[in-house]
């Protein structure tokens, strides 16, 4: 083949450029390599910091009367870190179908025992999803030289799901509680499991949060909301500050803004605000103290205005695998135990629109998670009500026996709303309902030339209220207080015909001026 001269020049030139580019890239990689040191954990052989995504509950019970010697708090932390990490690596190994990172956490004679179940399950064509949820540790023995420890892991709660590897078919879902007698040795800076003997769970008195003066809190009596012995009818808005909605809310939390907005809500004749706790902004399983302070401050500010707050938890949680369970469990515990005596709290909304996740996750997994979280919420806060904010009334009957009132959202026609309520009533006749989200955008522009006006919005809300009144006066929370100037693309997508209407659901314009709809909001 003959290549003409101009082509050969181009070929040679581009080849030369490619070679130079490769050389520059190689030198760059080398430069990066020589300028990056070993990880601190590797260099100093330190225990790797526990992930915020695997945070089982660990409680030290009182030690035995004679343990050989007293144990230092530092050592307890080290043991817990390595013990929990051992379980985590085991879980990861089950997921991967082969042992991963287990040798640091098991002694050489224990390692084959721990890895055998991993490899045998893989040979069976099975894949185990497992997580350890609760550990109640009781120290029995700590050697004089601080190198051997014996303890019982009481009531170790394991949750499991077994799948076929080839078809991903779920073979079973299981949950078990047992006591584990454990011996660990300190070796090369790691506490490693040497022995682990499973025993049937002995009776154990687990510390519980006791209910307090519940009359102070919103309760359900004869299917009505009641506080301090008087009926309470929730009517309000879903709330984000105008300039910091969604993911900006907690990062740019400003008490002055919240205070002014809550006063505004009260001036509009409303009594309830619904707010959202973003799972990721709240540090997954390790909630930063400042976030708890912010949430408590928000409730205090609401209390100052005599408002009640419906706090929606786990916003943007979209992972219902067992390995993610403990992070949600810990976040729930940290938030609820901190605020379980706050009078401004109307209820805990355990999840916003979980039925939207039915499309991408196994609905049974979603329901299992909700069921779990509902049970734990009762443990951590026996004082307040709980609900689940279903996206559609046709799903709102799910887990109805776990909640105090049934919440759903509706952005559909009035006829569909009325029908949805009627169907839901048939399924859960005994539960109070709440329309937790509804509304209509007032955007009419390039991306929605036939969009609704502010007068349309007023009319729509007024007619929705008529529907709610006809149906035993269902409480309501409108979406939302403000029009927004920006909506993050991860909320409704980045298409302008989706984002622009989402900015205009407010009952107040972006500049704070009221829309006509405020005239039909008061309960």
């Amino acid at each position: 083949m003959v290549i003409s001269k101009p082509y050969s020049r181009v070929l040679i030139g581009s080849s030369g450029l490619a070679v130079v580019a490769l050389l520059v890239a190689a030198v760059g990689q080398f430069w990066v390599y020589v300028n990056s040191g070993a990880k601190r954990e590797e260099a100093l052989n330190l225990t790797t910091v526990m992930l915020e995504s695997h945070t089982p509950r660990v409680v030290w019970l009182p030690d035995d009367s004679a343990t050989g010697r007293p144990m230092e708090d530092f050592t307890r932390e080290q043991i817990v870190g390595d013990y929990v990490r051992a379980w985590y690596q085991w879980q990861l190994s089950y997921l991967a179908g082969k042992p991963i990172g287990m040798k640091e956490y098991f002694t050489t004679d224990a390692l084959p025992k721990a890895t055998a179940s991993v490899t045998e399950l893989t040979q069976q064509g099975h894949r185990l999803h497992q997580t350890d949820v609760d550990h109640y540790l009781q120290l029995h023995f700590y050697s004089a030289d601080g190198q051997i420890v014996s303890f019982t892991d009481h009531h170790l709660l394991l949750k499991q799901r077994l799948y076929r590897t080839d078809t991903q078919e779920k073979l079973y879902t299981d949950q078990s509680v047992a006591d584990y007698q454990v011996v660990m040795l300190l070796d090369d800076g790691y506490w490693r499991i040497k022995h682990m003997v499973r025993q049937e769970a002995a009776p154990l008195r687990i510390p519980q949060v006791e209910p307090t003066d519940r009359a102070r809190f919103v309760r359900m009596e004869e299917n009505q909301f009641v506080v301090n012995g008087r009926p309470f009818f929730p009517a309000g808005v879903n709330y984000y500050p105008q300039k910091s909605p969604w993911s900006l809310f907690w990062k740019q939390y400003d008490p002055k803004v919240i205070k002014a907005d809550f006063r505004r809500i009260r001036e509009l004749g409303l009594n309830t605000a619904r707010v959202f706790v973003n799972f990721h902004d709240f540090g997954k399983g390790k909630v930063p103290p400042e976030r708890l302070d912010q949430l408590e401050n928000l409730l205090d500010l609401a209390d100052d205005q005599n408002l009640k707050v419906l706090v929606t938890l786990f916003d943007f949680v979209g992972d219902y695998r067992l390995l993610n369970l403990t992070a949600t469990d810990r976040q729930l515990e940290q938030i609820l135990t901190r605020l379980n005596r706050h009078p401004a709290l109307l209820a805990w909304d355990l999840k916003n629109e979980p039925d939207l996740d039915f499309k991408h996750h196994d609905p049974d997994d979603v329901k299992e998670w909700l069921n779990w979280i509902a049970g734990r919420a009762r443990q951590f806060d026996p004082n307040h009500l709980i609900t689940i904010g279903w996206a559609y009334p046709e799903n709102a009957h799910l887990l109805a026996n776990q909640v105090d009132f049934v919440s759903f959202h509706s952005y559909r026609s009035l006829e569909q709303l009325e029908q949805g309520i009627a169907d839901l009533r048939r399924k859960v006749p005994q539960k109070k309902l709440m329309l937790e989200e509804f509304g209509q955008p007032t955007y009419r522009g390039v991306w929605a030339p036939f969009g609704k006006s502010e007068a349309d919005q007023e009319n729509y809300v007024s007619r929705v209220r008529d529907v709610l009144k006809r149906n035993r006066n269902i409480p309501y929370l409108l979406w939302t207080l403000y029009d927004f100037t920006e909506v993050p693309p991860d909320i409704v997508g980045n298409k302008p015909w989706q984002r622009e209407p989402q900015k205009h659901f407010g009952i107040l314009r972006a500049d704070g001026q009221p829309k006509p709809v405020v005239n039909v909001l008061k309960p």
């Binding site: 050989g68 085991w90 004679d109 025992k113 721990a114 055998a116 179940s117 991993v118 045998e120 399950l121 069976q124 099975h126 185990l128 497992q130 029995h140 023995f141 050697s143 004089a144 030289d145 190198q147 051997i148 014996s150 303890f151 019982t152 394991l158 499991q160 077994l162 779920k170 073979l171 079973y172 879902t173 299981d174 078990s176 047992a178 584990y180 007698q181 011996v183 040795l185 040497k194 022995h195 682990m196 003997v197 499973r198 025993q199 049937e200």
Partner: protein, 401 residues
């Protein structure tokens, strides 16, 4: 059917060799016939009655123990299945849960206690701390974690015998039982140093010999003395300072290598710190005679523990005279010959300090009894010179031409 169940149980008992009668558990649509307990490593056969499960379908068996979960699919080919579980499943002791699943539903469950075998070699023993101070107060610990031949911890309350041979020859024997997988004994120090030898036995299985060092504590106060001492302030001779035998409060000779810090205050008020290490209780250092006349004060100490007496040694003046000449031709200040009390020349390297006018002092040393200072750069005319040798100071005027 009842007769079959009776014979079925007999078959299971014979197959498993287990003494416990099987417990019949009905949960959902299967009935499990399985013993309550089995010895670790023994075969275990389970009889599963599957009346409500169609032939040709399969059930799933899961086995959950301390070391994880294992599974096995089992086709249903009759109303009663005899399933021999893998021996590996019964190899690990503890409460194992056998569950039977059908179509994602739990249809049967039974807990089987896998009991460990007798204690087997090797007997896991851990002794720590490895050494303790023989002060009658410090203590160490010997820990035994007996296991069977499959590596399972033996059953609780297994007796473990600890025998000790103490440094003073005393023999001691104590019994303990395993609790929470371990058995242990404290070993409290005596007051004489040496080794404590430990032997451990559990259920006729002996462990390896373990030994504990009982070491002396910190030394009490001690004394020092000088030897090979030549009373000349010549900065050339050496002498030795040694301690007596260092002992702790119980009379035990301190460990070899104990650091002793000797502090010497020279006649010119400089301080020298010299470190010595004990060997068989004695530390010794070699010190150089001072270059200045006067007394040297020496003391010794062990950090945080005993101190010595203060030893004072005298070093009289030794230099006889200090002749000085100016070598105009070579522009040198020539000091010497420097001689001592016996008219011998001072040792090579004797330090001489020369300060001309207000210039910086010049440090030079003698060679063959002479020290020479370079006068290059010194202007012609008279100059004040201050000489210091062996602690003696001489001031004179020289004339440089």
């Amino acid at each position: 059917m009842k007769r079959f169940a009776r014979y079925g149980w007999l078959c299971v008992a014979l197959l498993t060799g287990c003494d416990d009668p099987p417990q019949q558990v009905a949960a959902g649509s299967v009935t499990l016939l399985v013993p309550d307990s089995v010895v670790a490593g023994q075969p275990l056969t389970v009889q599963i009655k599957t009346q409500r499960i169609n032939l040709g379908e399969s059930i799933m068996l899961s086995w959950q123990g301390g070391w994880g979960t294992q599974t096995m699919a089992q086709p249903v080919d009759g109303a009663a299945l005899n399933v021999a579980l893998p021996v590996a499943w019964t190899a690990r002791s503890g409460a194992q849960v056998l569950r039977v699943w059908h179509r994602n539903t739990l249809v049967g469950t039974q807990t089987v206690r896998v009991v460990p075998q007798q204690t087997a070699q090797p007997l896991d023993l851990y002794l720590g701390a490895k050494s303790i101070v023989a002060d009658g107060q410090h203590w160490s610990m010997i820990t035994a974690i007996p296991t069977d031949s499959l590596g399972n911890p033996v059953k609780a309350t297994t007796p473990v015998q600890f025998r000790f041979l103490r440094p003073n020859g005393q023999r001691d024997e104590r019994m303990a039982q395993t609790h929470h997988l371990v058995a242990y004994q404290r070993i409290t120090a005596q007051t004489s140093t040496g080794k404590t030898i430990v032997g451990v036995r559990a259920e006729n299985v002996s462990g390896k010999e373990k030994e504990l060092l009982e070491v002396p504590g910190f030394p009490v106060n001690f004394t020092i003395q000088a030897s090979n001492y030549t009373p000349l302030a010549d900065q050339r001779q050496n002498f030795r300072v040694r301690t007596n035998v260092l002992t702790d409060s119980y009379g035990n000779v301190v460990s070899d290598g104990t650091l002793v810090r000797f502090q010497c205050l020279d006649p010119n008020k400089t301080v020298r710190i010299v470190k010595g290490y004990t060997l068989r209780g004695v530390a010794e250092v070699s010190l150089e005679n001072p270059g200045y006349e006067g007394s040297m004060r020496i003391s010794a100490s062990v950090f945080g523990a005993g101190k010595s007496n203060v030893l004072t040694l005298s070093f009289p003046e030794n230099l006889k005279r200090i002749p000085v000449q100016v070598d105009q031709k070579r522009r040198l200040l020539r000091i010497g010959p420097l001689t001592e009390s016996l008219d011998q020349l001072v040792p090579n390297g004797t330090a001489v300090t020369v300060q001309i006018d207000d210039r910086d002092p010049l440090a030079i040393e003698t060679v063959g009894g002479y020290a020479e200072a370079d006068l290059t750069g010194v202007t012609t005319g008279p100059h004040s010179v201050e000489l210091t040798v062996g602690g003696r100071k001489v001031v004179l005027i020289i004339n440089v031409k």
